[in-house]
């Protein structure tokens, strides 16, 4: 039996790695993903490109503008002088915000009257616009606070104003670096897509070119065949997991606070589900194109509704319940727990348990179906 398994393992490894370009893809695709996520995936809104339209141009208006531009958030990109320019800036998307001060601002402030500023935001990116409006509000509040305080001072009123001093501290990711959140998740994304694609397409390929018949008439038992088919892809997935972890920690300085053994264990448990679904798809699809589309059909919702990029807490309640049957969700919680929080099995055991149950269920179902198909 071991001889037969050994034989099919050698055949499978050869087949996957025969094409040198395939080897390259196996190594390159995690690297590209990790680089893109490491550098590009950043939803923090700093350095907002801003156009400034100061019609007033007095000391007071410049003071207000300074309090915007001294904050790291607003970067003055253009100084404009007409409404037509304002239109053009926003239409073409050259800036995300236009800060406009009408004539009379300084005069009103000096005379002790109300004054106003206008902020025009490109709402087509609603999320960004909302955040920018929030920043601007805080700046205006602070400006007004200082204005009132200086009023009181010049009037010679002696008083001490009470205030609340906010001391905020972020745990697990002290400097609030996006990539610390995303990069560990790339493991889950790569392991999922690779196991699904490689497994399902490799098996369907044998069906397509007719070599599956040969395997079936060989003395291989179905279980040995499945084992031999799945193990190489499991090894590849583990290799990619190691690659991402190494790169993430050494190159991007992602904290790794938990146990490496636990990470490997979690990946192995998760692989049962991922490879099992790949196997399942291979029993449904009759062409590689169909297999690929089915993988994509399965992968997209899994990926999007896993909490990888979009926090589950923000989803509608119905969808939140739906994510409970998403195995990637649990795998991600474990990965992030190990990397960022350094928590151990005492906190993560429920997630492990769920993954294990998923794995057993999926692999059993697909094995049964696969056996029936080839018998």
């Amino acid at each position: 039996m071991f001889e037969r398994i050994k034989a099919i393992l050698i055949k499978e490894f050869k087949q996957v790695l025969r094409d040198p370009r395939m080897k390259t893809v196996i190594i390159i695709s995690p690297i590209i993903q990790i680089i893109i996520f490491g550098y590009a995936a950043n939803k923090d809104i700093d350095f907002i490109p801003t156009a400034i339209y100061d019609q007033d141009n007095t000391k007071e208006s410049r003071l207000l503008l300074d309090s915007f531009t001294y904050s790291k958030y607003f970067v003055p990109k253009y100084y404009i002088h007409s409404e037509a320019e304002e239109d053009r800036m926003l239409d073409k998307g050259l800036v995300s915000a236009v800060l406009r001060i009408d004539r009379g601002f300084g005069r009103n402030i000096k005379a002790g009257k109300d004054a106003n500023v206008q902020l025009a935001l490109d709402g087509s990116d609603s999320n960004t616009a909302m955040i920018i409006a929030g920043y601007a509000n805080t700046i205006i509040n602070t400006y007004q606070y200082n204005l009132l305080k200086s009023d009181a001072d010049t009037m010679g009123v002696q008083f001490s104003a009470p205030s609340v001093d906010l001391r905020d501290r972020a745990w697990f990711n002290e400097n609030l670096i996006s990539r610390n959140y995303y990069l560990p998740g790339v493991i889950a994304s790569i392991v999922t897509i690779m196991s699904l694609l490689l497994t399902s397409m490799a098996i369907v390929r044998e069906k397509e070119i007719g070599t599956m018949e040969q395997l079936i008439v060989s003395p291989l038992r179905p279980l040995e065949l499945i084992f031999g088919k799945l193990l190489p892809f499991g090894v590849i997935a583990l290799f990619q997991c190691a690659l991402i972890t190494t790169l993430g920690v050494l190159w991007f300085h992602i904290p790794f606070r938990g146990s490496l053994v636990l990470l490997v264990l979690a990946t192995c448990v998760y692989l049962f589900t991922a490879l099992g679904i790949g196997l399942f798809i291979s029993t449904i699809a009759s062409t590689q194109q169909e297999a690929m589309m089915s993988v994509f059909l399965f992968y997209m919702p899994t990926f999007l509704l896993s909490g990888f990029a979009y926090p589950i807490a923000n989803m509608p309640e119905v969808i939140q319940y739906f994510t409970l049957i998403n195995p990637m969700r649990y795998y991600l919680i474990i990965i992030r727990g190990i990397f960022l929080k350094g928590v151990g099995i005492d906190i993560l055991w429920t997630n492990f348990l769920v993954l294990l149950l998923f794995g057993i269920f999926v692999i059993t179902m697909s094995t049964l179906r696969f056996q029936k198909k080839i018998a």
Partner: protein
């Protein structure tokens, strides 16, 4: 170029697609599913931040009033009141809450006697983006509270502060700040890119793998004819996808369409041509379907999702990455789609983006033909 031969190839391709009805069904169903997930399932808006509060000064009315600012805001959801750090630690560790607010026991004493009191905020920073936004919410509540305190203490001294600076925000293009309006046009670009490249990436490699390419080569059909012929059925599928997506965007998600449909069709055709050619190029280079599908995923899905401005604003990326985004065709198409849907832009605002799409379409198409010729002849 011979129209008859082109049509012969494409009718062969049509038959092949018809024989695999499940792939065809998936090519229509996947876009619908993607739109549904993005439209209904994912929200970029961060509200109801789960918060645990430890009010050490719970006996005072002042702190309870202070907390009302959070209770009455849709941005926070106080899930629990506690009286120890262990609870806080535990709830943050297992992700039950995003943040914890600790009000020190002399809070009201300090405030009432005109001094400064601290307020402690502990945030789970692992999701840095959500954490930053949540902290921003707290900051603006505190800033407003401080301003009120100042106004109150001034007026108690008989000084009534007359002037105030008032900010009027005007939101253009998307008054209600509906994040669906932002996402859906981006999803359309992603769908077209991914479906087009996925479908075609396999269609040449398949012929190599099954050995039918030899047969095609021995026929009088020429390289450009073969490629255009293979192209046509997928072009049709791409347009069906676009049509379904636009109808869903307009009528299911209520996204306005302020531009010209003619422009939409024309520019989409350019983008689709580029995407399909890219798929054929991949397929020609890869020769096996497995490798082709991997390459297609890698060169279309990931960049379109991350480097196009679809979700992550480009102006936040490092300079080098911003440079790279100019090479991502979806970047231009997304600008165009948002311009057409939300801004009502015409060709005079978008001609440069359209030019890039034209360049993309032609260069990909050209490359595909050149590469294919080299492989075959």
């Amino acid at each position: 170029m011979n129209l008859k031969r082109i049509l012969a190839v494409s009718s062969k391709e049509f038959i092949q697609i018809r024989r695999d009805p499940r792939s065809l069904a998936l090519a229509i169903f996947i876009p619908v599913l993607l739109l549904l997930i993005f439209g209904y399932g994912l929200s970029l808006d961060i509200d109801r931040v789960a918060t645990v509060v430890w009010n050490q000064d719970a006996s005072s009315k002042l702190t309870r009033d202070f907390l009302l600012n959070f209770k009455n805001s849709k941005y926070f959801k106080i899930v629990k009141y506690t009286d120890n750090y262990r609870d806080i630690q535990h709830m943050i560790d297992n992700g039950q809450v995003m943040m914890a607010m600790v009000i020190p026991k002399d809070f009201s004493h300090f405030i009432e006697s005109g001094k400064t009191s601290t307020l402690q905020l502990l945030v789970d920073g692992s999701d840095s983006n959500t954490a930053t936004i949540a902290m921003g919410y707290v900051r603006s509540v505190v800033a407003k509270y401080n301003l009120n305190l100042l106004v109150k203490s001034l007026s108690s001294l008989g000084v009534s502060p007359a002037r105030s600076v008032d900010m009027r925000s005007r939101i253009w293009f998307n008054m209600g700040l509906n994040s669906r309006w932002f996402i859906v046009p981006g999803v359309i670009a992603m769908i077209i890119m991914v479906i087009a490249a996925l479908l075609t990436s396999i269609c040449v490699a398949r012929e190599w793998e099954r050995g039918t390419m030899e047969q095609l080569i021995s026929t009088p059909v020429k390289a450009p004819e073969l490629i255009i012929g293979k192209f046509i059925p997928y072009f049709v599928i791409g347009f069906v996808d676009l049509f379904v997506a636009v109808v869903m965007a307009r009528f299911l998600f209520g996204v306005p369409f302020k531009g010209s449909y003619l422009l939409l069709v024309f520019l989409s055709a350019l983008f689709l041509t580029g995407a399909l050619s890219q798929g054929i190029l991949i397929s020609t280079v890869a020769r096996t379907q497995l490798l082709a599908s991997q390459l297609a995923m890698l060169t279309t899905f990931i960049p379109t999702m991350l480097l196009s401005g679809f979700i992550y604003p480009i102006f936040n990326m490092p300079q080098i990455v911003q440079g790279i985004t100019y090479l991502i065709p979806a970047r231009y198409y997304i600008i165009i789609l948002r311009g057409l849907f939300l801004k009502g832009n015409g060709i005079d605002e978008m001609w440069d983006d359209a030019l890039f799409l034209l360049l993309f379409a032609f260069s990909m198409f050209g490359l595909a033909i050149i590469k294919f010729r080299k492989k075959v002849f």
